[in-house]
Symmetry: C2
Subunit: 119 residues, 2 copies
């Protein structure tokens, strides 16, 4: 068994971002959301239940999500929807996300494609 990587890449705040986005498009329950993230990202983003469920609870505590028990398929499931505060939060997070992405692009900018230049 190698090391456990709990913070592997660049996913930090990304779960919150995509959860707020996907739930804004359509209310879902946790288990459905886990799969939705995977499918919507083409398999690139994959967050386990141990990440999604606590996140949902946290966002609900903040008033950015609201849960409702609904009967789906003959069983009661906890369906989450985005509140007004949640949409605001998403807008902020998305803006920050873009900032970071653009910031990184500005730094990497010329090095990802431009060959070494005499300096």
């Amino acid at each position: 068994m190698s090391k456990k990587r709990t913070n592997p890449d660049f996913v930090n705040g990304v779960p919150e971002l995509v959860v707020l986005d996907l739930l804004a498009k359509r209310p879902m329950y946790g288990y459905e959301l886990v799969q939705a993230i995977r499918e919507a990202s083409g398999g690139t983003l994959e967050f386990g239940e141990g990440c999604v469920y606590p996140l949902l609870h946290k966002l609900e505590e903040r008033g950015q999500l609201a849960s409702r028990r609904m009967e789906i398929g003959g069983r009661s499931r906890v369906v989450y929807r985005v509140t007004v505060g949640g949409r605001k939060r998403f807008a902020e997070a998305a803006a920050r996300w873009r900032e970071v992405v653009e910031g990184v692009q500005q730094v990497l900018g010329g090095s990802t494609s431009v060959p070494s230049r005499a300096g």
Copy 2:
């Protein structure tokens, strides 16, 4: 004083990414690097010395950076350069970074506005 935010947004692994990139372009010493990150990103990315110095040491331990004491301005400074392993690491990190960015974009896709028609 409100809460301390140690993991504010989406910067996770980003310091490693930009450090490897900037040092690959031109060897620098720590303090210079801190400012270089800030300037290269247009002020968007800003990592303190408490983040950069331990990172430099870690990357050096991994053999991805190499340090050398040099006389600059009449004083000895610890200048870091990227090794072959560091370039490899950067390539991997950059690829992963792009994956995540594209993954998020696929999810957010139509919700961020941006009617990029050139696509």
